[in-house]
Symmetry: C2
Subunit: 299 residues, 2 copies
Amino acid sequence: MSLIIIGSVAFDTIETPAGKKERIVGGSATYAALAASFFTRPAIVSVVGRDFPRSMMVVLKDRGVDLRGLKIKSGKTFHWHGVYSQDTNIRTTLKTEMNVLADYRPVLPEKFRSADIVFLSNLDPEIHPYVLKQMRKKPLLAMDTIRYWIENKPEALLKAIQEVDVLFVNDEEVRLITREYNLVKAGQSLKNSGPQVIIVKKGEHGALVFGKNFVFSVVAHPCDKVIDPTGAGDSFAGAFLGYLDSCGKFNQREIRKAAVYGNLVASLVIEDFGLAGLLKASPLDLIERYKNFKKVVYF
Amino acid sequence: MSLIIIGSVAFDTIETPAGKKERIVGGSATYAALAASFFTRPAIVSVVGRDFPRSMMVVLKDRGVDLRGLKIKSGKTFHWHGVYSQDTNIRTTLKTEMNVLADYRPVLPEKFRSADIVFLSNLDPEIHPYVLKQMRKKPLLAMDTIRYWIENKPEALLKAIQEVDVLFVNDEEVRLITREYNLVKAGQSLKNSGPQVIIVKKGEHGALVFGKNFVFSVVAHPCDKVIDPTGAGDSFAGAFLGYLDSCGKFNQREIRKAAVYGNLVASLVIEDFGLAGLLKASPLDLIERYKNFKKVVYF
């Protein structure tokens, strides 16, 4: 099996009630790939500038992340600067410096073109067709998006949604896209527009999964230490897809398990700044958390 | 077994995005008792004015609610008028007319004084000792509270909390009482102050249960039709205690089940205005919902 993650590799400057970190490595593809690496050997397709630390590339490779699709270009790496309020579901972007990401068009190395799963993470929806026509076979296609595309390219976005198998959205986004406040109605209505599975991420409240003839609701792992929520959503998606890639099945049973793993890997992320929570956790830690989680929700 | 519910029986005027209802029957004790009546024969201790409809008393009695502790006094029944925003977790009180409830001191009929479970629902915490000294044996004691007592009688409230076995609070209240934003930390810290079980109700996001050596998290039943959230919290508490009364045990296993039933009865309430959702549901409907709920959360 194989999982290709197309998204950003970035520097993040992050301010949360727990403190501030400047220019630490982040990006949606980085989080998703590290999260997926608990289950499989994912590949990143992205671009960084010459300022990106080689040491971090070594770390990613050591975790089994394939970087043959990571282009190094002269110029600076994408940089995001955001601040979180005490309600960590609310964040404000202070600065977005696109840098080398500005005119980037993802080109998949030959070896990636028959991948089983492709994850389009926060991409300009107008770029989706450009990526997909590079594929030699139809993969299981997953995407997530950001408020910016909903507001600025709504038509391209809706077209993109119709074509994917798995869509990740957060509660705010699903309401914006569907103009429906009730999350159950909003999720169902989005599912009716095409995707086989809709995952509505609700931050500290967990996630709702809408599949064929089922709704699955997963609570967030009770966490008494929320340090930095950056990348939690990307990690949810990465772990979800990484798990599906590893088991090679796409049925209700595995989709539920994938969502639980997504949820639990996201809970590792928020316990520290940036990638630290993911990097210090072992697969054994995750298995332990999975076992404990049953005790949290079973009755 | 026996369950005594001391709280308000009221008229509510309710405005939600789904419509407006004037002076329909409500009150914390009414909701809690009807919710408990799915499992046991609860008793209400409260007061109403002569304007309270006898037809509703018949309805309550038909559901097995014991009204021997409901005093009818000359004057008007307590009246609350509130409006909900689209985010139904947010409500604004427009009017509170205490009427006959203003100087009410609950007196328990002789037969109720050896009850197994007593629920003090939104009572002035300074009245708790007055009620408790009427009891001939120590019951399992449960309470919930409202923002008003947290802000106006914080010391009496903290003292009351130390003395109960089961405390119901919502997310806003637990943060106010503990001055801790993180709900897991807040719930744990409140548990350390005395109660055996803390239930943090999170509205559309379900509830967190903090018990001896366990945390249980229950998601709200996915609901695509939220009409009126009034009484959902009271019904959660009523069903929780009604279930415990019916099974006669107070261990982890039964506490988890009680929370699931609390959650599911609350989900019946919000699907219609006022008491209508509770009144039209049968025990069979609830069992059906319980079975379906496993499919919503098990993996």
